[in-house]
Symmetry: D2
C-alpha cells in the first residue's frame, strides 16, 4: 500500500505540502497513521506541470525512503506549481526500482495508486494482453498500478476518465473472477491531465483505503481566520490526500466508499463509482 | 551491449577472474577493447552454485558501474565456486535497475546475453505473448535479454538447450519479419544449469559480437610452464568470455560465427547454430 | 538509533538469524518493538569471518532498507559462518551512504553501535583530532559510531578491548563536558576480532538502549527439548542482540546497565563498565 | 579527475548545455575526449540560483553515471537559470556517494573541482585540522575537493576569492612538502557566490587540466550569423568549461596555465594565479 496527495490551486512551493505540515506526506513515509502499513519506504515520486509550456509534466522519482531523499528535499524547496501529484510507496511484492515508483506518466497524464490487485502475479499476463498494442511499449515497470493506468488509457482515459476507470475496474474484476480470485481490487487512484484532477475510491470488498479532500477555502478561512497560509490561496484550491495532513479542524472530508471526485475550475464533482 | 564470462572447472575465488587478470571483466566495465561500447557501466551481476546443496544458484546484482561496486569486490574475495556466470551491462535503452541486470535465473538455470533485439520496443508485446503463461509471472524486468531467456525456457531450454535457443532465435526473427524489422537479432548467450555451460554466438546479419573459449589446460600449461595459477586447475577447466582476459599467448580460441559450444564433463562440444 | 546482533558458535547460514526468526533483525528494520525508532531503514550491514584464511573479515553493506535488500537475502541464504555481526541503521542525522553503514572494519576487527553521541556535529572535530594520525586516513564515513571505533582503536582496542572502550567513553564525555554538552553518550556496542565478541552497554544518563544475550544452550535445550535448530548448536554458541529475536521463553538475559560482556571459548565474562 | 562547466548569462534551460550540444557535459560522462579518464561515471551534480529569493542555491546530486540519471534529465528539461555549475565525477579513490559529488555548497557559495591532491590520504588530517572549527561540522564527505573548498572558505573565500584560493593552494603545497609529497596539487576549480563566477587553473607541476571560456557573444555571432541559439543570449553570457562543448569554430579560448578568471557584470577579468 502507499500514500499520495494531489494539489490543485494557487501555485505553491512543493515544500509547503510535502514537508512542512504536521503529518506531511514525507512524515507518513516513516510513520503513517492510517495506512495498512505504517512504513512507506520503498520509493517516492512527484509530478508537476511547470513550466507550463512543456509538452509533458516533469517527474522526479527516487527509490530510497522519502524521508532521506536529499534531492527531493532540494527540489521541493525551489519548485513552485499549481498542480502536482506526489506519492510514497510501500511495495506489495514488486521490486523497488524507479520504474515502479508513482506517479506514472503518459503524455500529459499522471497517475498514482494506493492499494493492490490481489494475486496480481497470476492475473498479470491476461491484464497486460488487454493493453492497447500501441500503448504496450510504454509500460516500463512491473506493478499492478502501472498496468491499471495503461488499461485505463486503453479504455479511454483521455476522453472520458470516469468511464475509462470504471471499465478498468470492471475488467480487472472480470479477469480475476475467471482466475477464481475473490475481492481482487483495492484502490484509491489520483489522475490528472494537467487541468483537472480525478480521484477514485473503490474496492471489490467495499472496504477501501482512506481518501479525503479539503474543505472549500472560504469555509476553512472562516474557521481559522488567523492562518496566514490560507489567506494566500485561491477559492478553487483543493487537496486530495490518502491521509489528512496537519490537524486543522474542519479541513477534511472523507471521499465516500465507491465514489469518484473531480477537482476543476468551477464546481467540483462527486459521484458514484461503478465498475463496468 | 555488454560483456560476460562463464567459468567451469576447479573451484576458485571469483576474484581470480573478475578482478585479477589484466583486462579482467571488471576492467572491461570501464575500458572494453572489443565491445561495441567501451563503457559497460549500467550494472553488474554474478551467479554461482555454492554451496551446492542449495536448490537455486546464488545471485548478486548491482545497478551501479561494476568498477565501483564495493560489495561485489568483497564477495569476490571470499566466494569460491567451480561454476559461475558474470556479466557487466551497457544498456541499449531499457532502464538501469536490478531486475534488468544479468544473469537472469529460473530454477537451476542462469542466463546472460550480450547483444540486442533491434526495435525491441515494437516487438516486445508479441514476444511476451509467446512466453508460457506459467512462466510469465516470473518475468521481472524489461529487457530483451530476459524475454529471450523466457522464450528459450518456453521452447524447452531445460530439456534440449540447443534446440530451444535455436527455436527462440527463429521465433524472434519470424516476429521481426512480420513487423518489417531487418536483422533483428544480435547475440552471444551464456547459459548453465549448474552442471554444463552452453554458449551461443549468432546474429541475423552474420556479424556477431566476439566470443572466445579457453584452450585446453594441458596445451596451455605446455606453452606457459612457469604460470602457477595454471598448475592448480583441472584438465576440464574452461572459460567462455566475450572478450579475452589477460595476454596469455595461445590461450583463446574464437567461437565461429553462428555456432554453439558446450562445456561439460568429458569432451566439450562445438557445432553449428541454426535458428528454427 | 539502530539494531544489531552478534553471533558466535556453530557455523550456520546467516539466513537462520537474519531472516527466519520471528522478530528477526530484518523484520526489525521495518517494525522494531524496542528501539527508540520503530523504523531502521537507513542501511544494513553484515560482517563475517569465512573463509577463515582471509586476512580480513568479509563485509556487505547496503544503503537501502534492509527489508528490501535482495542481494543481502541471497547472500544470507548461501553464507555460513561461525562468527558474524549484523546491523540495521536508523540515521541520527548523518547521511545515508555505504561508508556510514555498520559494521565498520579495521584489520581483523569489526564494530557496530546503537545509540549516538549527542551534539556530535559540535564535538566531531575535537574527537577526530584525538584519533591516532596513522589510523586517521582509514576513517571513511561521517558517523559518530565510526569515530568511536577509531578512538577505541587509538586507545588500544586490539590489546585491551575493555580498557580501550572505557577510555573512549571517558574521552567522549570529557570532550562533551568541555563543550557544555550534557549526557553525551548513548551506546550499545558490539566488537569482535574474529575470535572473541565484546559487547558494551552504557549511557551517560544511565538509561541505555536495550541489549540481551542468549541463555546457555544446555539450559535452553532443557526448556525446549523439541526445537530442532537448538540440537545442532554447540554448547558455546551465543547471540548478543539489541532486541530479542523470536519468542523463545527463557532464551534471553538482559545485559545490565553499565556493563560489558565477552563471548569466548570457555567461560564468558560479564562485568562493570566504567568510563575512564 | 572530472569535468565541469559554469554558465552565467541569459537564463536558459539547463538542458541546453547539459544534454543538447555535441560533446555535451553529459556525453562527456561516457566519452570525454580531453580528460585524463575517458569515463566520468562516479556521480553528477548541478547547483543553480532559481528562484532567486532562496537563501541558498538549489542542489541536485546523483551517485550513478550522469548518462543514465533519469531525474537529472527531467530536471534539466524544466529548470531555467541564469547561473549554474554542473559537474561529472571520476573518483580518484574516495567513495562514490552523494556527499562526495560536486558542487559543494556553503551558504550562497558553490564549488567544483577537477583534479586531485596527490597522496591525499596522507595529507588529509593536517589539511582538515586547518579548517576553521566553525566550518568543520559542515564538511560532509571525504574528498580532497571538499577539503580544498573548506580551506578556501577558511582563508577568506567570501571576502577575497582570488587571495583565498591562492592561500589554499599555497597551504596544500606547504603541507605536502612537509610530508615529502612532490607536485601535490592539480586543479581547475569553478566557484560562484550566485553573482560572479571564479575559475582557477593551476597545478604544482605546471601541467594543469584543460579549461576554456567562451568567446564574447558579439564576436561569436559575427562568426556564426545563422545560429539561432546565439541570438537569444545577452552580451554578457559566458561559459567556463573543462572541455569545449560542440564544434563551434572560434567559440573557445583556453585559460592559460596558472591563471584565474572572473565572469561578472562589466568586463571580465583574467590574471595570474600564484599560490601563497
Amino acid at each position: 500500500m502507499c500514500r499520495w496527495l494531489a494539489y490543485s490551486g494557487t501555485p505553491i512551493l512543493l515544500d509547503e505540502l510535502l514537508y512542512k505540515p504536521r503529518y506531511s506526506l514525507i512524515d507518513q513515509s516513516m510513520h503513517s497513521r492510517l495506512g495498512v502499513e505504517t512504513t512507506n519506504g520503498d520509493g517516492v515520486g512527484v509530478g508537476w506541470y511547470e513550466p507550463s509550456d512543456q509538452p509533458v509534466p516533469a517527474l522526479f522519482r527516487g527509490t530510497g525512503p522519502a524521508w532521506g531523499d536529499v534531492n527531493l528535499r532540494e527540489l521541493a524547496r525551489v519548485t513552485r506549481s499549481g498542480l502536482f501529484l506526489a506519492h510514497i510507496r510501500a511495495s506489495t511484492g514488486t521490486p523497488v526500482q524507479q520504474t515502479n515508483c508513482h506517479p506514472f506518466r503518459y503524455g500529459r497524464w499522471l497517475w498514482c495508486h494506493n492499494g493492490a490487485i490481489h494475486d496480481f502475479r497470476e492475473l498479470r499476463r491476461d491484464l497486460m494482453l488487454a493493453i492497447d498494442p500501441d500503448l504496450f511499449p510504454s509500460v516500463a515497470g512491473s506493478t499492478d498500478s502501472e498496468v491499471m493506468f495503461y488499461l485505463a488509457l486503453t479504455f479511454g482515459l483521455r476522453d472520458d476518465p470516469l468511464r475509462a476507470v470504471e471499465r478498468m475496474a470492471g475488467f480487472v474484476e472480470q479477469v480475476a473472477r475467471a482466475h477464481g480470485v475473490a475481492s481482487p481490487l483495492q484502490m484509491t487512484v489520483g489522475a490528472t491531465d494537467g487541468d483537472r484532477v480525478w480521484a477514485f475510491r473503490y474496492s471489490s470488498e467495499g472496504k477501501s483505503r482512506t481518501l479525503s479532500f479539503s474543505t472549500a477555502l472560504t469555509a476553512l478561512r472562516a474557521l481559522h481566520p488567523d492562518m496566514e497560509l490560507l489567506r494566500g490561496l485561491s477559492e478553487e484550491t483543493r487537496l486530495v490526500v490518502s491521509e489528512p495532513l496537519g490537524e486543522l479542524a474542519g479541513a477534511w472530508n472523507e471521499v465516500p466508499e465507491s465514489s469518484y471526485g473531480v477537482v476543476q475550475k468551477g464546481d467540483d464533482e462527486l459521484g458514484a463509482f461503478t465498475p463496468r
